[in-house]
């Protein structure tokens, strides 16, 4: 007995030594440079986080395959669970590790709000790829924080003006009570009132709510022409389905959060038809770079789709990689390089950072579901007048 357990003990020690040896494997010929990706990889919104992770991973792989690149890049991807405390933890992990030069960070706004100070403190340049709260860039003056996606302000201004120009006047608003939904509610209401729309009722719902029948029954009584929904795909699918169930006949208008294939698939062709969404940036599906992106993405056989914000993560990662190629793996230089980005060509259109390092997005793209697919408004049969939105 004694001898056997001693043998096991030796084995354990040996395993530890081997493990240690492996941990110190030397790098390959080109110098290795690390960049980080941070987003929600587990939990309710993980589908977006994983889409962003894959897109960033794609950017890194393509760059490594490029013989002209000076460095070999390594992606460190971390899970923030969409929780600010975990976000601060992983942000500290990435930012305090000096071998990580820059980061593509955060889908959830509350997490991004919590971590901006961490990046500033440690001087790690990051580009936000999905969080839309304006204060992330405008609430501070940290030179490290950049953002490629637009804020919800731009999105809602266009959304409100567009819808009123279509002749709609009466709205009911449903929003989730996260920062995302509440923010959308705030800005959309503001611009809608300015453009002459009328809000009959506003309903805040929790992000994990299943049943909306009582809210929708109330809405049915109010008889709005449009139901504006500020929130993400899972809730959007539920609300749209239950509208049908209760016989609520109104146009369904969403935000960037529902512009995903999952929305159309989750509803099926008939129910999804005619739903609207607004997203900042040029319609990447139509740009040449966008087609390359979708092609390469398909080649890598990721199990999950890039989702709406994948292209933003891809663009952010490429900007960082370009900067490193140009000025070398030095945080301060990369930061300054990114700060000065003007008219940089990316798959989401030209990127220019303003004095708060926010990408000035000149363009908001309007999407409508046509035959189970999101189609750019101008190209759709709706835009061309062949099909009509509800009530028009």
């Amino acid at each position: 007995m004694q001898r056997r357990s001693f043998a096991r003990f030796t084995l354990a020690t040996a395993a530890l030594v081997v493990a240690g040896a492996f941990a110190a494997t030397p790098a390959s010929a080109r110098d290795t440079v690390k960049i980080a990706f941070i987003g929600p990889l587990t939990g309710g919104v993980s589908v977006n986080g994983i889409g962003g992770r894959n897109s960033t991973d794609l950017a890194v792989r393509l760059r490594n395959a490029d013989p002209k690149s000076k460095y070999r890049y390594e992606l460190v991807s971390l899970d923030d669970e969409c929780k600010p405390n975990v976000g601060v933890q992983v942000a500290t992990k990435a930012a305090s590790d000096n071998s990580i030069i820059a980061g593509v960070t955060h889908y959830c706004s509350a997490v991004a709000m919590g971590t901006v100070d961490v990046y500033h403190k440690f001087g790690m340049p990051v580009i936000v790829w999905g969080a839309v709260l304006p204060e992330i860039t405008y609430g501070n003056n940290h030179k490290e924080i950049h953002r490629v996606n637009g804020t919800m302000v731009n999105q809602n201004e266009v959304a409100a003006k567009f819808m009123t120009s279509q002749g709609y006047r009466k709205w009911a608003i449903i929003h989730d009570t996260t920062d995302y939904g509440k923010g959308h509610n705030k800005y959309f209401s503001e611009y809608l009132t300015k453009s002459g729309g009328q809000i009959l009722g506003t309903f805040g719902v929790t992000a994990d709510q299943q049943d909306f029948t009582s809210e929708l029954t109330k809405i049915k009584e109010l008889k709005p022409e449009v139901i504006f929904f500020g929130g993400l795909t899972p809730l959007g699918v539920r609300i749209r389905t239950q509208m049908d169930k209760l016989g609520v006949k109104a146009q369904f208008e969403g935000t960037s959060g529902i512009k995903s294939d999952a929305f159309a698939e989750g509803l099926g062709k008939d129910l999804a038809e005619g739903s609207l969404s607004f997203i900042e940036g040029a319609p990447w599906e139509k740009l040449p770079g966008g087609l390359v992106f979708t092609g390469k993405y398909a080649q890598q056989k990721y199990a999950e789709a890039p989702e709406a914000y994948g292209p933003f993560a891809f663009a952010a990662a490429n900007m960082i990689l370009d900067a490193i190629e140009k000025v070398g793996p030095n945080r301060k230089k990369v930061r300054d390089e990114l700060n000065n980005a003007k008219n940089v060509d990316t798959i989401i259109g030209k990127v220019t950072f303003d004095d708060h390092r926010q990408n000035i997005v000149p363009l908001i793209t309007k999407y409508v579901v046509q035959d189970g697919k999101w189609v750019v408004w101008e190209d759709s049969e709706y835009g061309k007048g062949k099909r009509k939105l509800m009530g028009r």
Binding site: S46, D211, S214, E221, T233, R238
Partner: protein, 311 residues
Amino acid sequence: MDLGLLGQYLLNGLMLGMIYAMVAVGFTLFFGVLDVIKFSHGDVLMVGTFAGLATYLGLESVGIDSPWLQLLLVVLVSVSAMAVLGALIAKFLILPLKDAPPLNTLLATLMLGSVLRESVRLFYPNGSNPKPFPRLLPTDEWSLGTLTLRVDNLILLAAGVAAIVGVHLLITRTKLGLAIRAVAQDGETARIMGINFEWIVLLTFGLGSGLAALAGVMNGLYYNETNFGIGLLLGVIGFSAAILGGLGNVYGAILGGFIFAGLQTLGSVALPAVLPSVPSAYKDVFAFTAVIVIMAWKPTGLIAEKSSERV
């Protein structure tokens, strides 16, 4: 508010209450036989929905497209699969923990819930996205003024009532039910009377989990949508409903389910009407505050356990 809308609210509330009640009955059955809380119950329901969905997709791919046959098979597969899963959970997780502190079972089953949830998210094809659940029931509707009555909703309500009545009859009128009640009252004595304790426990867990699967399929048919996250909240609410009614009592669980649904509907309808400054998002705050107040008033649930005090 006109009568039609009132009817609509009532119908919504009834349907919601029915699903809550079916989940709560499971909690109360498990508590009855083993004095444990199986917190993974809501997630078993979710897995049941996905099992039903997978069955449907399988049937579609082999070309069986009669909705009634599909429905029958979906329900059968889902219910039997979850009954087996429930029994397995009891056998390998809950019975081994029988002598450990009750908190351990609670934590272990909570973790099992996470395992089920994460497994569906990761291993069901594209499982992290919401899935459309097929409309297998006729969707004819009658509009009575502002009230929309749909055949599928009525069928679901009837099915729910039938399921609950069925479980009730099973427990009160059959030999198996007698055995379950005997084990619930006193496991040791039941064993002495020649009842196979372990079998009864496994059967009860199978029964409760099958009921959850049925509730899951009904939930899918009602909302025509499902996702990997539905179990967590339904689990918490089912647990609340079971406790509210009084653990170990089937009537209590049903009552609790309907009360909880009533509180939520009331919270979202009456709250903004009475206090216009309070947004409807406060409805969960309202429902859970009410739960705390009710518990302070009736500490062992509305229908109290008969043998809760051993003096």
